[in-house]
């Protein structure tokens, strides 16, 4: 196999798409009266300027990676999971409920159990659209979006009611939980905000790679995504794998929520939106996964990059007085550009296939006797 220019171009497509988005961002910055060089300089400094900044970037990247590897599983199975926000919330709620209910268990037991509970809760929440799609043919994009809103309301309900911090009472009560026991904090890796969750996410990304490419179940998930009717013909129970992939996808988002609670916040508070808890990781995880070409290993650097964008956005906002919402808009553009750039990948793939075919035919013609190498081979 020789490496052609076109395959290098393919690998660089997401990067080109992102640079294009940043170029559009630069134009927007100019229109908003800010110097793009200063703005992007502030962004880079905010994300990488110090030891703490890098640690914050990794902390911000962790939920993106966890949601992102879940997205890889779902998209590889041909289902689109837009429900990361809701699944994260369910993971956060269930794990914090457990930790608050049992405050006197050794951390070494509680932490893994709580993370597992978050994983399962997210999986069940993701299983609902999976089941609705498999059983009733309900469009999963729409059902996951509806379930996001339902999850937000569930969070508001629980944080105002059963989970509210005991001393918050009356009309002025802030809808927040008590802080989890300090023994339940995820261990810090180095003396920054960087916690064990980042390492867990990276290990799981590698594990999901092996799962998707080295196991029968993973192979079937990808087969369903590539061609559902052919898979059905080959005896794969397509519906089962649709449910499974959405459950797994939801489970990783749920774990992201649990890790957010045990590793970063240690309590939950709501202002009525999902973003106050998730930081929109349920959406941005999709961006990271797409950027990583729906490959769990590729999602690792991609999450790091988008974590950096998010952390740097705050600095950008302070330095050039441009709202951090710019980064949300640019993330949208990255998605559009990455998905749109697929057309060149397909064109290249087609060209390569044709060229390989021509070479093969040329070889056949060359190796066979003159009467065998007639022209109807093409």
């Amino acid at each position: 196999m020789r490496i052609s220019w076109s395959s290098i171009f393919d690998a660089l497509l997401p990067l080109i798409a992102t640079l294009t988005a940043l170029a559009v961002g630069a134009v927007m910055l100019v229109l908003l009266g800010a110097n793009p060089l200063v703005a992007y300089g502030a962004l880079i400094e905010g994300a990488f300027g110090s030891f703490n900044a890098v640690a914050d970037t990794i902390v911000k990247a962790t939920p993106l990676l966890l949601v992102g590897i879940g997205i890889c599983i779902a998209f590889r199975a041909g289902v689109i999971n837009i429900g990361g926000e809701g699944q994260m919330i369910l993971g956060g709620l269930s794990s914090i409920a457990l930790g608050l209910a049992f405050p006197n268990v050794p951390g070494i037991i509680m932490i893994p159990v709580a993370l597992l509970v978050g994983f399962i809760a997210g999986g069940l929440w993701g299983g609902i659209p999976g089941y609705l799609k498999a059983r009733f043919n309900v469009n999963e994009i729409l059902s996951t979006i509806m379930l996001n809103v339902i999850a937000i309301q569930l969070m508001n309900l629980l944080l105002r009611g059963p989970l509210i911090q005991p001393n918050q009472k009356g009309a002025a009560a802030i809808p927040q939980t008590a802080r989890l026991a300090v023994e339940y904090d995820l261990p810090r890796l180095i003396p920054t905000r960087l916690h064990l969750g980042a390492l867990i996410a990276i290990i799981l990304a590698v594990a999901v790679y092996f799962f998707l490419w080295r196991t029968t179940i993973g192979y079937r998930i990808r087969a369903v995504g590539l061609n559902a009717s052919a898979s059905r013909y080959a005896g794969i129970k397509v519906e089962r794998y649709i449910v499974l992939s959405l459950m797994l996808s939801g489970a990783f988002s749920g774990l992201a929520g649990a890790i957010q609670v045990y590793g970063v916040n240690h309590f939950m508070i709501t202002d009525g939106t999902a973003a106050s808890f998730t930081g929109s990781a349920g959406f941005n995880g999709i961006v990271a996964a797409l950027f990583g070409q729906l490959h769990p290993i590729g999602a690792i650097p991609a999450s790091f990059l988008f974590g950096a964008l998010l952390v740097g956005a705050n600095k950008l906002q302070r330095v050039v007085q441009v709202p951090a919402a710019l980064i949300t808009a640019l993330n949208g553009l990255v998605v559009v550009f990455v998905v749109s750039s697929e057309i060149w990948r397909r064109k290249n793939a087609r060209k390569r296939a044709i060229r390989e075919l021509e070479e093969k035919l040329a070889n056949v013609a060359h190796n066979s006797s003159p009467e065998g190498g007639d022209k109807d081979a093409g």
Partner: protein, 310 residues
């Protein structure tokens, strides 16, 4: 006690606000119906609505010009629809994901502009109530149906127009052909790309108006994420309506009546947690999606890019 609260005038008020609240859903969902009928799922509706809502609000906030506000919202919606058409038709991008990109762009961009140009939550005086002469004098019926603002009437006018275009014109026939069997339509000389560009752009334009109807006719404010996912519900209503304008109207009405009821329940202080009340329409939407998925089949080519073999 419930009977005391549920008097005739309350009921009329509820029905009237149900009619009014259906407005943004109708604009967005009817627009999306055109696109989906031709085979394009535009998931960016909510983002386009937000941009439309902001543009209209900004014009009215600065100049008080209501018509100008709607026109700018239309223009912004049209441009974003055109962009979506370019992405999904010319570049053949995956529609589900690229639509989310358009949504994120609209969400971020409208917030960015809002923070930069206005910065705090303000109200404007939006479209005034314009009772229709004579009809609004009819007792009860007049109050429910004919005492609204112009954008509300426009939304309901759109339904028969959409029905007529889709079912009684050559253009409608072409749209449906392109959505059901693009290869065949292409063979018969219908330009798949042209039709899809047209429908998605119209959808964008109407989504812009849907946004404007929120910010300068119903709520008369703008804030971050004003639509709160309303555009996604509009898409669900298109599925519920089986891609037919009349059923989309039915779906929008059911949804907005439930919403009006939900708001009323909160206002009069019936002891149901507000979170559950807010949740109800969304649960209802999922139930409705389950039912409608059994009833009708989507256009065959929906979400499928059409690549012409040269």
């Amino acid at each position: 006690m419930l009977a005391d609260l549920f008097t005739g005038s309350v009921l009329i008020g509820l029905l009237a606000s149900g009619i009014r609240l259906a407005t943004p859903y109708l604009y967005a969902a009817i627009g999306e119906t055109f696109g989906q009928r031709s085979g394009v799922l535009n998931l960016g509706v909510d983002g386009i609505m937000l941009m439309g809502a902001f543009s209209a609000f900004y014009v009215v906030f600065k100049t008080g010009d209501l018509v100008g506000g709607v026109l700018l919202a239309m223009l912004v919606g049209l441009l974003m629809g055109l962009a979506m058409a370019f992405i999904s038709v010319t570049l053949n991008a995956e529609q589900g994901i690229s639509g989310i990109g358009v949504y994120l762009f609209g969400l971020g961009m409208s917030d960015l502009l809002f923070q930069k140009l206005i910065n705090n939550v303000q109200t404007v005086s939006g479209f005034p109530v314009a009772p229709i002469p004579f009809l609004s004098d009819i007792p009860i019926v007049g109050q429910i149906f004919f005492t609204h603002n112009v954008l509300v009437y426009g939304a309901y006018l759109l339904v028969p127009i959409a029905w007529f275009v889709l079912n009684k014109t050559t253009l409608g026939l072409k749209i449906k052909a392109v959505g059901e069997n693009p290869e065949a339509a292409d063979t018969l000389g219908v330009s798949v790309a042209k039709i899809r560009y047209l429908t998605v752009t119209i959808g964008g334009l109407l989504s812009g108006v849907a946004g404007a109807s929120l910010s300068i006719a119903l709520l008369n404010v703008f804030q971050f994420n004003l639509t709160n996912g309303l555009g996604f519900i509009a898409i669900a209503l298109v599925y519920f309506g089986g891609w037919r304008p009349t059923w989309v109207l039915m779906g929008s009405l059911i949804f907005s009546f439930v919403n009006a009821l939900q708001i009323w329940v909160q206002v009069v202080g019936i002891p149901i947690p507000s979170d559950i009340a807010v949740m109800t329409p969304y649960i209802l939407t999922i139930v409705v999606l389950v039912i409608s998925a059994q009833r009708v089949r989507p256009p065959s080519a929906l979400t499928k890019a059409y690549e012409r073999l040269e």
